[in-house]
């Protein structure tokens, strides 16, 4: 417990300023939106646009946070700090757990802030579409699981095995083929979604002024729960693989 507390403190000292920067982004978006948009509950296109911008800022901030987390592995490796961390008798998973907890904490605060702005200010006054707590948490978990642990895994992998010339060719080919692989995977997986588990129905936004939109929303079956289950399993696998990889890293 003492070791985890120490590692969390270490991560906080490294990422505290970055986390504060993300909270300033939330505040900035709040004030910008407040200054720019006026109440307009009838203009659904405008409301959808504001909603999309909020989501875009939230996703952008989250990706920046994950990129910082990933790059931190490489930076620590290059600076020779791993000899200090690897030399300790603490298990590899504890180091990763501290990074994950800190990263998840920063992301939760940031996305929670964005959700509050979206729902309790922009949404309530009709500038944007409100999003319910359940749906927000679901989307956050889905996005978080899809991004955080693979980022940890990739970060450790990149830091431990910096690509040489031979692996660089494979990396370029891999990157070029990534789009195709993703398309195939999506087709394969989408065939499986909605089959086994009940979909997650999102609460409808407050758009009483437009019954047509309400009807469209109601006809949407909800998000597939299979994706959540698959990502949870992948997360557990990635975390295990990353912990094992940590034990094999040379400093």
């Amino acid at each position: 417990m003492n070791a985890l507390k120490t590692l969390l403190w270490l991560e906080f000292r490294k990422f505290g300023v970055f986390g504060l920067g993300l909270l300033l982004v939330v505040a900035g978006w709040f004030f910008m939106a407040r200054q720019t948009f006026e109440w307009n509950g009838y203009n659904l296109e405008s409301a959808a646009m504001v909603f999309a911008v909020t989501a875009f800022v939230a996703v952008g901030g989250s990706i920046a946070c994950l990129a910082a987390l990933m790059m931190d592995f490489g930076r620590e490796y290059r600076a020779g700090r791993w000899s200090l961390l690897l030399g300790s008798p603490q298990p590899g998973w504890l180091h990763l757990a501290a990074k994950t907890v800190l990263g998840a904490g920063v992301l939760t605060l940031f996305n929670g802030g964005m959700w509050l702005v979206q729902t309790f200010w922009l949404g309530q006054v009709g500038v944007s579409l409100p999003i319910g707590l359940g749906a927000g948490v679901w989307l956050y978990l889905l996005g978080g699981l899809a991004l955080v642990v693979p980022a940890l895994f990739l970060g450790l992998w990149v830091a431990a095995y910096i690509p040489g010339k031979a692996t660089l060719i494979a990396t370029v080919i891999g990157a070029l083929g990534l789009g195709q692989v993703l398309e195939w995977s999506t087709r394969l997986l989408s065939g499986a979604f909605y089959k086994w588990l009940p979909p997650w129905k999102l609460p409808a936004p407050s758009v009483e002024q437009s019954p047509a939109v309400r009807m469209q929303w109601d006809s949407f079956p909800g998000l597939p729960t299979e994706a959540f289950v698959i990502l949870s399993v992948l997360t557990a696998l990635f975390f295990y693989a990353t912990s094992r990889l940590w034990q094999e890293v040379e400093a």
Binding site: T6, R13, L84, G87, S88
Partner: protein, 226 residues
């Protein structure tokens, strides 16, 4: 016996860090690991610390692999590897949290002995940084201490004082291996000297035996290089 390298070769691509290196280390010893730049000193220490894995051969510390014995190995890297924002107080917090054998009383004594200022790592001189890192590692109650060029950046007068103070009060139950390319520094300090040349162990001698032969460590070093 505390640690053993058994026919260890470490390759980095086509280059060899060490070649079929075998040696044994015992408790209570203070060993000087000498060699020119690139002779394999850092590789040897990293292999013993479990920071590198041998390409062939085996490494044992207290009868286990170095990674399994991590709690008993105190390794000081030659890299300037502390966080820039860290003060000696922060370093104490980090070490006390991560290393259960960290002795905070000894750490404070060492900070005083090594004259480490209470300021951020970023604003310390190279020598002061080296002193802080040395205090952190020496404050552990480990069995095997591996120090890679710990005195580089420290002025000559302080180096001598620190080295003598360190070795004079060396603990019976632990072994100290200190690498340096300053051969004259090892004179009259270490009871055993290991000389590495191009990744091979060129000399493993008791300092007393060299003295009996009327040879200084420097003479032996030059003879081996010749």
């Amino acid at each position: 016996m505390l640690a053993r390298l058994n026919g260890v070769t470490k390759r980095y691509g086509k280059a060899e860090g060490v070649h079929e290196l075998s040696l044994e280390l015992y408790p209570g010893q203070a060993v000087g690991l000498l060699g020119l730049n690139g002779s394999g000193k850092t590789t040897t220490l990293k292999l013993l610390a479990g920071m590198l894995f041998p390409t062939t051969g085996s490494v044992e510390v207290l009868g286990q692999s170095p990674r399994e014995s991590r709690g008993q190995i105190a390794y000081l890297s030659d890299a300037d590897n502390l966080y820039a924002w860290m003060t000696p107080h922060d370093a104490e917090r980090l070490m006390a949290g991560l290393y259960p054998d960290f002795n905070q009383g000894r750490y404070r004594e060492l900070l005083a002995f090594l004259e480490v200022p209470q300021q951020g790592y970023r604003s310390m001189s190279r020598g002061q940084r080296a002193r802080l890192r040395l205090a952190m590692v020496l404050s552990r109650e480990a069995r095997l201490f591996l120090l890679d060029e710990p005195l580089s950046g420290i002025d000559v007068i302080s180096r001598d004082r620190i080295l003598k103070g360190l070795v004079r009060e060396w603990r019976e139950e632990a072994c100290l291996v200190l690498s340096t390319h300053e051969v004259s520094e090892a004179e009259g300090i270490f009871e055993r000297v290991l000389l590495l040349r191009e990744g091979r162990l060129a000399l493993d001698a008791q300092a007393e035996d060299l003295r009996v032969k009327g040879q200084s460590v420097k003479d032996a070093f030059i003879e081996v290089l010749a």
